[in-house]
Structures are given as C-alpha cells and as structure tokens.
C-alpha cells in the first residue's frame, strides 16, 4: 500500500510542548519541570544542560512515560506525532525500544551481572518481534556490537569482564536493538574518563550521521554538549533559560547562567582561566520555594531590582538564539560576564549559606 500523498512536512521525531511535571511529596507538590517546549528532528542531536535537580533527567524519563508513579504531567510529549502520555499501554510498549530508546545515567550498573551481554542485548529484540529466531537475533547482536566499536565475539563476555567504556557501549548497542529513530542519553559519559568519553561520544555522533537518528543528550558538562550536539537547551529550576546552536551558545552564552556553565569547564590554554577557576556562588534553589522573579537572581552577577520581581520568558534574541534574561544585552559581551564572575570567584569564599 502506498502512503497517501504528503501535503505537509512529517512531524518531528520528538516534540515536547509546554511540559510540566511535578512530584508529590509530604510537603506538597514539587515542580521539577515548569513549562518546557522543544523538538528533535531526525539526524539532529539536541543537548540539555543544567545542574542536578534542574529537571533534565525528568524530561528524559517523561518522554517514555517512565516518570515515577504519582507524578503529575501536563502538556504533551509527541514521539512521531503520538502522545506517549495518553497512548494505550500496548502501544507505549511498542514505542519504548521500537521508536525511542534510553541510555540511562549510571548505566554501568544497569547490566545483569550473571547474564552474558549477548543474551541481554537479544532480549528486547526477541520480546519486540516474536518472529525473530535465535540465530537471527544472534546475528543482529553481532552487528550491533560492531556498530558501537566492539568485536562481535565480545558478546559472550559477562559485564564484569568489560571496562566501564565497554559497558557503556554495550548499553548503547542495547538501545539500538529495536532500530529506534530516537536515542535519549542521560549523562552517558559522566563516570568515564576523557579518552573513553571521547570514544563513546564519537559512537553516538556517528550513529546520528550514519543512521539519521535523533539524539537527545543530557549532561551537566556544557563542553561535552558543545562538541557533540547541533543545538543546546540550558535549563535552570525546571525551565529553559537559553537555547541556540551549540557552538555559538558555548562560545557566546547570552544568559548569565549559561555563561557560568560554559566558564566552569575552561579551555585548556586560555590564559584567563589560569589560576582563576570560575564558580557560581550559592546553591541551586529549592524547587518548592523558588525565589521571586527570575529564579536565578540570587546567584546572578547582573541581577537588578527588576529581576527580583519579573520572571522573563524565553524570547528570541540573536538569530536562532533564545534567552530568558532581562539583561541578555549586557551579558552578550562575554568579556564583561567573565570579568564579573571572576570578581565573584575572587570574593572571600564565605558564599556558602546555611541551609
């Protein structure tokens, strides 16, 4: 049967529209994600940056409806145009693995220690398509291992016989098992050292190029996202505060928070970073008691009176760039921003406050 004539562009692989997620706690609902919208197209890699607790992992889990029971979700998450939050259970099972697969944070501990890795990779293949025989599954496992740069013979190994980087590549191979179009990778390289991180990131970027997959990569390290992704979203306190092409965002952040994240990982050889580590004073805000106005203002070098009352929305700024900051014009000058944050870093370190 031939498909009907397309009169419009196909929907993006992943479209998140005004997503709100909150978790129930003893002291009332805890808003983890507060109105986030973005999309990921085929062949595109999108990064989400932010510190612990900013809601970035919640987004990844919510895409496949893996959020904890009881979490309240508003807005929609469309995978291939289908809303995962509202689809029936049977369809959701097919979407998980089949349309989109997730590589978790701390994946090093997600492998079953007493099962050979080839059996673990074959499991989703055979669960999703009962017509696949044992032999065909084994062939596919071999191909998958090779696609992530492991010899197919390694399939007979147990997880303890693999190094951290190899285990992480097995997790990526497993995510590819059912030929998904979208990969969600939540801090896939956090526990790995630089050389292995480079190997894993190059496997992921090759997949995006070769197979035209969509990649949503989540990390607290803006420099990793800067080299791997096409576009980056910076999140703070459950919201996107900055969005733009990865390279220009990393080089010229418009939001002071984006600036702090970019400066946290200095460029080796940059004389300005020598003996001048740049930190951000203070701690991330409590999601249940967000500061008034812009939630970043208590930690912001550019904050003024207005920031304590007005919470700016995400607005277009430069070409392809969006930012939620009243002072984005000023912070566009990276030098000024760096000078200010260095002043703060040089302040007596009594900045940590009592809880």
């Amino acid at each position: 049967m031939s498909p009907p004539v397309e009169d419009e562009a196909p929907p993006p692989l992943l479209e998140v529209i005004d997503l709100h997620v909150s978790y129930p706690t003893a002291s009332g609902p805890l808003p983890a994600v507060r109105g986030v919208s973005f999309s990921v197209d085929a062949g595109e890699s999108v990064g989400i940056a932010g510190e612990s607790g900013c809601g970035k992992s919640t987004i990844a889990a919510t895409v496949l409806r893996l959020q904890p029971k009881g979490a309240s979700v508003e807005g929609s998450v469309l995978v291939n145009g289908q809303d995962t939050q509202r689809m029936p259970w049977g369809q959701l099972r097919a979407v998980r693995w089949g349309d989109a697969a997730i590589v978790f944070q701390g994946a090093l501990h997600s492998l079953n220690p007493v099962q050979r890795i080839e059996d673990q990779i074959a499991e989703p293949i055979r669960l999703h398509d009962e017509s696949v025989g044992k032999g065909a599954a084994a062939t596919r496992v071999g191909q998958l291992l090779e696609s992530v740069g492991l010899p197919s013979g390694r399939g007979s190994a147990y997880p303890h016989q693999l190094s951290g980087g190899q285990k992480q590549r097995v997790m990526i191979a497993m995510a590819l098992a059912c030929r998904p179009q979208l990969i969600l990778a939540d801090e896939p390289t956090t526990a790995l050292d630089v050389m292995v991180q480079a190997q894993v990131l190059s496997v992921l970027t090759d997949l995006v190029y070769d197979l035209g997959l969509g990649l949503l990569l989540i990390s607290h390290d803006l420099s990793v996202l800067g080299t791997t992704c096409d576009r980056v979203l910076v999140m703070y306190a459950g919201r996107v505060v900055e969005h733009g092409p990865a390279a220009s965002l990393f080089d010229h952040p418009l939001h002071p928070y984006g600036g702090a994240l970019a400066a946290a990982f200095p460029r080796v050889g940059d004389p300005r970073a020598r003996f001048a580590p740049v930190g951000l004073p203070g701690d991330p805000p409590d999601p249940q008691a967000l500061p008034s106005g812009c939630p970043f203002h208590p930690r912001c070098a550019l904050a003024t009176e207005e920031c304590t009352t007005t919470d700016p929305p995400l607005e277009p700024m430069a070409p392809c760039r969006e930012v939620a900051c009243l002072h984005a014009d000023e912070s566009r000058d990276m030098k000024l921003l760096l000078a200010r944050s260095r002043l703060q870093a040089a302040r007596p370190a009594g900045s940590a406050t009592a809880p």
Partner: protein, 336 residues
C-alpha cells in the same frame, strides 16, 4: 625548591591470584611535591594514579623504592603512620560517601581533632583553645561561615558543594601540610566545581598547603596546578609545568589526551583505540607503543626510532628538571 613529599623509584605490585602474573600498579615513579605547590597527577582510569596517591599516603606499601616526607623515609609502624597522617591528609571524590550520614558536621570534623589530640597540641604551644574552636576554625577555612550554623547539620541537609567543604574542613582540622585530593570535583555539579577549586587555591595561598590533585580532567589542571605529571600504565610519561605540558606537550600520549578534551574549533581529535592496557602485561620497549599514534602513523619510523619504541625500555624520568617526556622520538627525553 626542596621537596616536602617525594617518591623515589617507587613500585607497587599486587600479587596475581590463581596463578596469574603480578600486576604492577606503580612501576618506577620519581615524584616531588614542593611546599606550597599544586601538582596534578593526570591519566586514564587504571593507569595507577590512585595507587600512587594511596602509597604516598602510606595506605599501600611499596614493593620497591621509597616515599619520603620532609626528608625522612616513611616507616610503617603505627605511631609513625599516625603522626604522618596528620601531616598528609586525603580528600575523596564523593563527599556523600566520605561522610557518615549519622554524624553531624561537628562530629565529622571533630573526629580527627580527637584522634590527633589537637587541643593538647595547641595547649602545649601555649594557645588556649577548645575543641569547638578548632572545629569552627576548620569550617570557616573551608568556606562554611558562620561555622556555628553548620555544627548540628547532617550531611543530607547540605548541598553537594557544602558536603565537599565539610570533607575539606575535616582534613584541615588536623592542620596538615599536604592535601592529596583524589578527583575532588568530578562528582560535583559544574557550578560548584569552580568554587571548590578556588578554595584549594585559597588554602595554598593562606595556609601554604601543598596539594596533589589526582584527576583525569586537564581543564582542572589548567585551572589550578603549577606542575603536571602525566601517568600511563604505572609510569610517569611526561612531567613539567602546567604551561609547558599543556601548551606544548611532548609525549604522544599527552598530545592525544589533550586532543580529546571537549572543546570547539580544535584540531581533529586523536581518539586512542582500546583501553589502558593490562598492568600484568606491560608491553616491552615504550609501554605506550601499541597505542601510540606517532608509531602507528609512521612518525617514529621516519625518525628511525621505531625499533627502540618496540624493544628498548625507557629510562625513568627524574623528579626535578624542566619539561621532560619518556619517549624515543628525537628531542623528547631530557639530555642524560
């Protein structure tokens, strides 16, 4: 500059089990940490950098060679180690794991003060202090001010950055001369990282502490270290000032490590294939040769040293001198 903490021809061997050959965690290392110096020890997981740090702390006994503190070789009796550990303190990677969840901040910091009888040490020196004074002093040196507000907090009530500051305060409380920090910021958020690194710099300035930072993060080294030693498979393969080693690396391994630091608009990264090789099977010749881009790419053959790379062992790098690399390529080894 004389050295405060030094290693000479240091080797640490772990016996192989079930008839397997011994693993050489540290395989001949000369290293000096000068007073007030920040030295970064960098390398991949499994290269022996943590084993070297543990041996410098006296937690691991060398199978050959020696560790010396302030000119005296370490002996491994209880009383010597007790006084040694007051002088050389360890800061671990994960502050959540390093703190007892059922101990208040005060108790955590006071533990070392009690073990090392710091109140008596101060009284002997003619300074009347109480235990609470010393805890408060350590907390405020670590940037937790006002310190009294943190006394009764438990680790779960603190943020990640505050927890790491408590761990550092616990180390500072016994008034050490050297801090050995094993990946001090790798489990922390980006925004906290700079604050903790700034604290280490401040402690060096205000208290004259020496710091040995064990890390795989070259950006961290660029941020705070005076000297860098690059370790590969139990040996130091390149050492020099941070500017020398990171701006003009001589060893192909250091060059490869630098090329994969995630940055934009850099040269084509040299991603080495394979993991750090097995310390039970150290390759002959240069231990890096099976993965060396200069050998695989023909640069070594063009210089006529490829035979040496595969077969001739390299000399150990001395602990002092300018930038020096253990590599057979011309101009890399220091003149003997």
């Amino acid at each position: 500059m004389s050295s405060l903490l030094s290693a000479r021809r240091l080797e640490v061997t772990f016996p192989g089990r079930h008839g397997r050959p011994d693993a050489k965690g540290v395989d001949g290392v000369d290293l000096d940490v000068a007073p007030g110096e920040i030295l970064a020890l960098v390398g991949e997981s499994g290269c022996g950098k943590t084993t070297l740090a543990r041996t410098l702390l006296g937690l691991e006994r060398p199978s050959a060679g020696s560790v010396a503190y302030d000119g005296t070789d370490l002996s491994y009796g209880r009383s010597f180690l007790r006084s040694y550990r007051r002088k050389v303190q360890l800061i671990l990677q994960d502050p959540t794991g390093a703190l007892n969840p059922r101990q208040s901040v005060y108790e955590s910091v006071a533990e070392g003060i009690r073990i090392h009888k710091m109140v008596r040490v101060h009284r002997k020196a003619g300074e009347q202090v109480t235990e609470a004074d010393l805890v408060a002093r350590a907390l405020s040196q670590a940037g937790l001010r006002p310190p009294q507000r943190f006394f009764l907090n438990y680790p779960h009530e603190l943020s990640g950055g505050q927890r790491q500051r408590v761990v550092i305060a616990g180390a500072l409380a016994v008034e050490p001369a050297v801090l050995i920090a094993d990946e001090p910021v790798s489990s922390l958020d980006a925004s906290i990282r700079g604050e903790i690194l700034a604290l280490l710099l401040k402690l060096r300035e205000e208290l004259g502490l020496s710091v040995l930072v064990v890390t795989h993060d070259l950006g961290l080294a660029w941020n705070i270290a005076d000297q860098i030693a690059v370790m590969y498979l139990g040996r130091i393969v390149e050492v020099g000032t941070t500017e020398e080693v990171l701006a003009a690396p001589k060893h192909p391994y250091t060059q490869a490590l630098l090329s994969v630091v995630p940055e934009i608009a850099q040269n084509e990264p040299v991603v080495l294939q394979g993991e750090t090789p097995d310390p039970t099977k150290v390759p002959p010749g240069c231990r890096f040769h099976p993965r060396c881009p200069a050998l695989l790419g023909g640069e070594a053959a063009a210089a006529g040293v490829d035979g040496d790379c595969r077969a001739t062992p390299l000399p150990l790098l001395a602990a002092t001198g300018g930038q020096r690399a253990a590599c057979w390529l011309p101009g890399r080894l220091p003149p003997s």
